[in-house]
Symmetry: C2
Subunit: 183 residues, 2 copies
């Protein structure tokens, strides 16, 4: 039995609103704020996502989903080195003003969450492929593991968005990821 049309619509609206609000105000944002943004009552939010944590998981899963899409799209690029670094740069830049993103990633790292786990695996695999190809092409050190790439993404996502100046920011980002390249 598929859900009623309005239910599906509202679920999407809530997820969307949650993403925006978490991004703007951090993970501490209240459920009511999210409900208001979505144009629904709090009851509706809680019907779709029984706890705040469940909502966060869902938001996170959605983000990881697009991350995986990105990585998979780049899997057969002509220049594997460029592909990996492009991916890294875009991933971090995309989360520029989004503090919540890094927090969510952090959460993902710990929780053996039911919702998040499968998507997480997909991302790991896709990034693993990018990494592998980049290494084979000699663009990345041989001794780098996927986990370390995620550590780089995590760290850069945290640190780099704080830099206001555009040029300086992208320079710092490039510099940071340079640590992955062979010497």
């Amino acid at each position: 039995m598929s859900p009623r049309a309005d239910a599906a619509r509202n679920r999407a609206k809530v997820l969307d609103a949650a993403q925006q609000v978490f991004t703007a105000d951090g993970l501490g944002a209240s459920t009511e704020q999210i409900a208001r943004r979505a144009g629904v009552g709090v009851g509706t939010v809680f019907r779709h996502f029984p706890t705040k944590e469940a909502l966060l998981s869902a938001v996170l899963a959605a983000r990881l989903e697009t991350l995986a899409d990105d990585a998979e799209r780049l899997a057969d690029a002509a220049d594997p080195g460029a592909a990996l670094f492009d991916f890294l740069t875009r991933t971090v830049e995309a989360s520029s003003l989004k503090i919540a993103y890094a927090d969510a990633l952090e959460r993902a790292g710990v929780g053996t969450d039911q919702v998040v786990a499968p998507v997480r695996e997909r991302v790991t695999k896709a990034v693993g492929t990018l990494l592998d190809r980049a290494q084979r092409a000699g663009a990345v050190r041989d001794d780098v593991a996927v986990g370390q790439v995620f550590a780089f993404i995590h760290g850069a996502s945290r640190a780099v968005p704080r830099i206001a100046d555009d040029a300086l920011r992208s320079a710092t980002l490039r510099m940071m990821f340079d640590g992955l390249r062979p010497r």
Copy 2:
């Protein structure tokens, strides 16, 4: 008029407890928890630090103080390159299990806080000196600014402590800071 002996003692106990509790449970930890840990009443906590934010600032200032001490101690090391990288490594490793530390640093970056500002300047200057010497010795790229070094510290503090394996963690750290070295 200097403060009464018990007052000074309690102030120190609270500051110490706050540091421990924030470190263990994050910035969301309650004031009562801190009071209990310090072995004093909540009233005492608030008498010494009128708001929770003031307490956080004080904790942060204390941390920055030791950071500055570290940096200044290394200012005339024989090998400037090693000195800078030592400092970076130790700073991050020292904050290993301390999530609160990175949060606090983040806060420091934003706030033009009365308590924190002067210490901040001291740290910046000391690290600036280390950086300068390392650059002159050819151990660090010429185009690196102090702000970028802080970004690296910030990012690494966030990302690296998540790695459980000791060897892998320090390898990642080294790799991350390698981005600062000339190519």
